[in-house]
């Protein structure tokens, strides 16, 4: 079982985001970085699949700046066998298309049985890379899986369907799967793992970028939310509420 997991280095979820001086990128000078939380489910799933198969190799891959070795090293400490860093100093500005192409190029060379990534990176919240990878690599792709088992070269997965239903799918491998909460509890990088990770290889190569499909014209922070207001209590307040929703908020 040969698995590739794609992860992304993103600002910690409690960061205060500021727009950079150029108006099209995020000012990253003050940020703390983490592995995008949905990607941790992918890493954990890969490790569990490898352990269940009793053999195989898990490669963790990211496209990002040189500092991304920190997040890769954490995945190695969790138990991944090797890491690939596709270096791109401007990765913060790349669109999903560019990124997916770069990842796909590198993944092709590894001929994996399974490609896993988080359903969405929590920085841009676009959730496209997984599906694009499926397309480029010409592999079946199922997104947002919350259960996974593998038997006889097939993956059986569950995902949330409409109105609370659960869909079960079976796909033949190789396939691309994107992971979401509920799939597993990602493990901690412990003492043994951290020491072992020091000796594991990180293969750094320049990212072979694809063509951009999107360019960012400008970035703005959402306007600060206005404070709530209490209009009144009980049925008497309804008329006023409806009036305000209609005239002030203009949503009715």
């Amino acid at each position: 079982m040969n698995i590739v997991v794609c992860i992304k280095r993103v600002p910690a979820t409690d960061s205060r985001i500021k727009v950079g001086a150029d108006g099209t990128s995020i000012d990253d000078s003050q940020l703390e970085w983490i592995i995008s939380p949905y990607d941790e489910f992918a890493v954990e799933a890969a490790l569990q699949m490898k352990e269940a198969a009793g053999e195989g190799e898990v490669t963790v891959m990211t496209m990002g700046p040189a500092e991304s070795t920190k997040e890769l090293r954490t995945c190695l400490a969790m138990g991944c066998d090797k890491a690939v860093l596709l270096t791109d100093p401007d990765s913060g500005t790349r669109d999903a298309h560019t990124t997916a192409h770069a990842l796909a190029k590198a993944i092709q060379g590894l001929s994996p049985d399974l490609v896993l990534c988080g359903k969405v990176a929590v920085d841009r919240d676009q959730g496209q890379v997984g599906s694009l990878l499926g397309g480029i690599l010409d592999m079946p792709c199922i997104t947002e899986i919350k259960a996974l088992s593998i038997t006889d070269g097939k993956a059986t997965v569950e995902r949330a369907g409409d109105s609370g239903t659960t869909e079960t799918w079976t796909v033949s491998l190789p396939a691309v799967l994107t992971t979401t909460k509920g799939l597993n509890e990602p493990r901690y990088a412990g003492l043994k793992g951290i020491m072992a990770a020091k000796k594991k290889p990180i293969d750094e190569q320049e990212a072979q970028l694809g063509e951009a499909a999107l360019t960012i014209k400008s970035l703005e922070l959402p306007p600060p939310r206005r404070e709530g207001r209490i209009i009144g209590e009980g049925p008497e307040a309804v008329t006023e509420l409806v009036r305000l929703l209609r005239e002030e908020a203009k949503i009715l």
């Binding site: 954490t74 901690y188 990088a189 003492l191 951290i194 020091k198």
Partner: protein
């Protein structure tokens, strides 16, 4: 600094963590941080007076007990800076867990690391790294607290000289209830010293060797941490478990404590940072008189001064650990200053935070009251702040005092120059915005030298007994060292440029540097003023009277 010297090359550029060390640190913090968030419940640990087994097992797996153990013995081999940074997180998560960790890594295993033989290390360190063995440090006794050298617990060689037979009691031993390996300090009359001082040695005692751990103390704070007496009755310890040189154990105990104090200071920093964040959250959410209370100046005063003290502490602690890592040495005096300043900063921060939270600061629904209780002990253990204040100035001035007493007045006198001309050392090169602070630091160093010179000349070798003088000198050196640390960090960030650091981050740094330098200047000036203008004689006389009377003189309602 006692000699009026200020050499920026000693502490500039600021010793920030290198990228590789930062990477390892981030992994360890990542795991501990998530574990703490999910599994460490400080409130219930406080109520249960114990850290749950499962939490200990989880933390062991993550490497808590191997943080300071070299890689070849299966540890994480964190340097002082990394260890201190993790300690900050632990203290923010729970004071008892932090003390449990420190009892093991800072003092429990340190004798082995400093003075253990290859065989001793190979035998114990791998099991200490995994947490299978947990360590304690047992020096204090009922009649030997600050005066630890007065200890009486004794180890005598057995007839066949293969064992020491240990008898005596230890008191207030952190981790004593859960540890299975104790670093024990005992008298060893079989190894007399030539200088007439008591012969003290260090033994590694396993639980199975048969000592008894007594009842858990009921404590004001850090209730989840184990603090017990240990009772030794004819406990037989193999001679190969003696660590270091027989009879030189007291030096070893002091080296362990001297080297470890930045760890405790880091813990105080972590708890302070957490408290400040909680105080900000509380005061911006709590509305009175139609406004968040954070808009009132008397609340802002508290938030501001918490931040300034914290900033100084942070610069000072990581300057000290960074220099210790860079040069591979322990810095006993600087570490003692960090301990004094750290524990007192935390105490004032927690006091301010409680006040900001009003009634909620006093009840158990919020973390403030627990953290206030937890904070208090820091000023008492690992050397009381009184003992450390005496230690810093007397050790710092021992050399000069001896030289002075041997020298002919007026010649060969390290202070003569300063006393006569008050020569001010060259100010550090700083960005324009901090020029006034840099000049003030140079003045403070000169003033310290003058005050030191005067103290040494007036009191000579008896200076040690003049504790008010000595403490004031320590406060002055504390203030100057902290200012140097603050400026060192600000200058180093400034030199990296707004490009790398970020324009806003640089602005914040300068504001905090300015504010904390000024706060420290005032603190230092007060100390120096107290040497020139004080009512010490009346104060001491009053204390004398009260001790004689056993309390206040007659009451007059």
């Amino acid at each position: 600094m006692f000699l009026g010297q200020l050499d920026a090359a000693d502490f500039c550029p600021y010793p920030f963590l290198d990228p590789d060390s930062a990477e390892l640190l981030s992994m360890v913090r990542g795991s501990f941080g998530r574990f703490a968030e999910e599994h460490i419940d400080a409130e219930s640990i406080d109520r249960a007076h114990a850290v749950p087994e499962a939490v200990l097992a989880g933390l062991s797996e993550l490497g808590l007990f191997g943080m300071r153990i070299p890689e070849e013995y299966g540890g994480l081999d964190l340097n002082a800076t990394q260890y201190c940074r993790v300690g900050m997180d632990l203290s923010a998560a729970d004071g008892a867990v932090a003390i449990l960790s420190g009892g093991h890594s800072t003092i429990g295993i340190k004798a082995l690391l400093l003075a253990g033989t290859e065989e001793q290390k190979a035998k114990y360190l791998p099991r200490l790294a995994t947490g299978e063995l947990k360590a304690a440090f047992a020096l204090s006794e009922p009649d030997a607290g600050s005066d630890a050298q007065a200890l009486t617990c004794t180890a005598k060689l057995s007839e066949d000289k293969q064992h020491y037979v240990v008898n005596g009691n230890k008191l207030w031993i952190t981790n004593g209830g859960l540890a299975n390996l104790v670093t024990l300090f005992v008298r060893t009359p079989d190894h007399p010293r030539t200088d007439g001082r008591p012969s003290i040695s260090c033994l590694l005692v396993e639980r199975e060797m048969g000592y008894e751990a007594g009842r858990e103390e009921t404590k004001l704070g850090i209730r989840g941490s184990s603090t017990v007496p240990l009772v030794f009755e004819d406990v037989s310890v193999p001679v190969e478990n003696l660590v270091g040189v027989p009879g030189e154990g007291f030096r070893l105990a002091l080296d362990i404590l001297n080297g470890g104090r930045t760890g405790l200071a880091g813990g105080c920093l972590g708890a302070s940072r957490y408290l400040l964040e909680e105080a900000v959250k509380y005061t911006t959410e709590r509305q009175q008189f139609g406004r968040p209370i954070a808009e009132f100046q008397l609340i802002q005063q508290k938030l501001g001064r918490m931040a300034q003290s914290l900033h100084a502490l942070e610069c000072m602690v990581f300057l000290t650990t960074g220099l210790a890592d860079r040069h591979g040495v322990d810095l006993p005096l600087e570490s003692a200053l960090c301990k004094i300043f750290g524990t007192e900063t935390l105490w004032s921060v927690v006091n301010d935070a409680v006040q900001c939270a009003g009634g909620n600061g006093f009840t158990t629904d919020y973390p403030f009251e627990r953290m206030l209780r937890d904070a208090r002990v820091n000023m008492i253990f690992e050397g009381t702040n009184e003992i450390l204040r005496v230690m810093v100035a007397t050790s710092g001035l021992r050399g000069p005092a001896e030289r002075l007493s041997e020298s002919i007045p007026g010649r060969d006198d390290p202070y003569g120059r300063l006393l006569d001309g008050a020569e001010v050392p060259d100010p550090m090169k700083v960005p324009d915005e901090l020029r006034a602070e840099s000049l003030a630091l140079s003045m403070a160093v000169a003033e310290l030298a003058v005050a030191s010179g005067k103290a040494v000349r007036t009191h000579g070798k008896a200076l040690r007994e003049q504790q008010l003088v000595v403490a004031a000198l320590t406060d002055q050196v504390l203030a100057t060292y902290a200012q140097a640390a603050v400026l060192s960090r600000a200058v180093s960030l400034h030199d990296q440029g707004a490009e790398t650091v970020g324009p806003e981050a640089l602005e914040h740094e300068i504001l905090l540097a300015k504010g904390s330098c000024r706060r420290l200047q005032r603190f230092g000036r007060r100390a120096s003023q107290s040497l020139r203008d004080n009512d010490d004689a009346i104060l001491l006389k009053t204390a004398g009277l009260i001790t004689r009377l056993g309390g206040m003189p007659g009451e007059r309602p």
